[in-house]
Symmetry: C2
Subunit: 401 residues, 2 copies
Amino acid sequence: MRFVAVVLLATSFCFAQEQGGFKPATSNVLDAQYPKVDSNSRVQIRFKAPDASKMRVNFWSGPKADMEKQPDGFWTFTTPPMAPGLHYYTIIVDGAEVSDPGSTAYFGGGKWASAVEVPEAGADYYQPEDVPHGQVRQIWYHSSVTGKWRDAFVYLPPDYDTSHARYPVLYLQHGAGEDETGWTRQGKANFILDNLIASGSTKPMIIVMANGYASRAGYVAPDLTGKPFGSPEFMQVMQERMGAFEDDMTQVLIPFVDKTFRTLSDRDHRAMAGLSMGGMQTFQVTFDHLDLFSYIGGFSGAANVFAMGNNKLDTKTAFHGAMADPAAFAKRVHLLWIGVGTDEPERMRTGLKNLHAALDEGKIQHVFYESPGTNHEWQTWRRDLKDFAPRLFQSAGKQPK
Amino acid sequence: MRFVAVVLLATSFCFAQEQGGFKPATSNVLDAQYPKVDSNSRVQIRFKAPDASKMRVNFWSGPKADMEKQPDGFWTFTTPPMAPGLHYYTIIVDGAEVSDPGSTAYFGGGKWASAVEVPEAGADYYQPEDVPHGQVRQIWYHSSVTGKWRDAFVYLPPDYDTSHARYPVLYLQHGAGEDETGWTRQGKANFILDNLIASGSTKPMIIVMANGYASRAGYVAPDLTGKPFGSPEFMQVMQERMGAFEDDMTQVLIPFVDKTFRTLSDRDHRAMAGLSMGGMQTFQVTFDHLDLFSYIGGFSGAANVFAMGNNKLDTKTAFHGAMADPAAFAKRVHLLWIGVGTDEPERMRTGLKNLHAALDEGKIQHVFYESPGTNHEWQTWRRDLKDFAPRLFQSAGKQPK
């Protein structure tokens, strides 16, 4: 009783110190008081730089603004209410773009960046709940394609070690500038699957999260100085890396996974999905290898929607003609799923919507999902996975092939 | 996303620009050209801060110096030759202490800090070699002590999934300001064990790496602003957390591990070691629970060497009298191992050497290891693990107990 009272007092003391209900973000490192989030989803940033002359905060899909210097050498900024989810940001100290030491570092934008978690009211599907938890394993394999050791993360469903069953496999890819850690650290894919499996709505499955960047052994990229995005030289390097990734995945990683884990290794039990760049990779890899995959997901990225622009996909000729016969395609590909957030940049939304329209027009059976109110960020992709995963492996072996 | 792709590609062609044999550190993020290391173990730091008026580099166990501004808005600094191993550092931009975006982020100093890997000539024992690789699993468990979900990393030996064997377990702890990711990301413990097991010199074992920070459910730490390390307020929080960690490990984590994995769960097959703060925790936990542990390792930290100062350990009374009878202790504790780097701070070396002398004087069988030329850094602890691990579980069940 005395213990309880002490706890209550100490807790309320803490609350009294917080202004306007601002609390340290759940994405902070141990004991870091900032960034803070309040119940209106506003974010407070605070950063020590006593000798700086100018400080800016740079939310990648949010406010980019000057911070205000306080007498104590700290600079502060409070955002307007933000969408739920994990928001990447950096701080610009006198022209130097850096991470906030109060934040857990998440690999994004090609570096270990900061991010702040804004809770979504009532959404616990990506939280660790009181359900059986799968494990996430880091594995290492030597790639004959890249000539190097590569690693990947593998989610094993909760009953993997106690059952003698074999499981279907979802290959799940991160976006540009991210890496194989993204889907668990930022995306909480493991908790999403734990919860979906516990509710009985999703088949237990293995998820493999690989690094989407690869270079063939001996490959040396040309000098791209002065060659902008989209230039032939730039696209050549990107294509080269995409090709190396495709070969590494299909020739090395998939066989390694099938050898290492108790998988169901036929195409009916193998899916691939990815976000943004990972969505484009998914469409390239799966349509080049429909002998290997029968479930396909593009989360805010698919079928090279960037390059497509306003050109409409021709379902009769695209992807080596795989969709030319809609009925045959529907039998062969058990799920074609694309999604985008309603607050994503216009170019991205247009790309996905045009793809959706083209698929409709070509009578290609597919799912089009829109995440309400979210941008090109992880809350969109968490929701995508929550909608996508329950649709996997439900029909495999039952439908006529 | 477009921006990100540009950055990632545009930085990848500068190999021709390397001066004096400087090459990007292996600890860099993909495509980052700096920091660089040359064959004389000098490190070049380069950091963009066009509007900064003062920049300093801050190696935690190395140079702390002003950087030099170049005409292109980058600041540079080249260190003298450094010891081999992973060196934590930060950059101070006009008073703001930040991480270098070119470096992989490692959790140290209570934040995601930078570090640069300086190779050790001829030392491949912590590299991924062409040998069978174990997996590193992240597991989640709900702690009745902390009232929260906690995670831990678990190394499983290469043959774990194919054998039906049970394995001994080493609990291996990080240092102050680090976390459960340290021993694999910084320490390369998994590769060290892969190589030791492949060479036949070390018994296959499970390694559990937990987070050394814990707070009892409901505990609210007082505000430590202005309370230095070692102050009564600081030490009170530390003791509170040490106790919570001890209870979490012995009452929750160990039973969870023994339930989850095929362990040999008697004290003859359970070891604990840790570095720095983790070494102190090891001595506290193991000597409080000799019913659970029979192998003990203190890597640059043991028996509260900080608090001990020049006070000599009294082996007759210390640790609840566990060492009072040296012969009985040698039968009960199969290995007592302590180590320190020869270049560690004097206070640390003195603490360990005094402990070594006191153990000798008390005729307590133990191993004292000195890592030549290394500081209070990860190369010391990699070497410690390489010396320590082969001594584990060799005699269990053979020696009289």
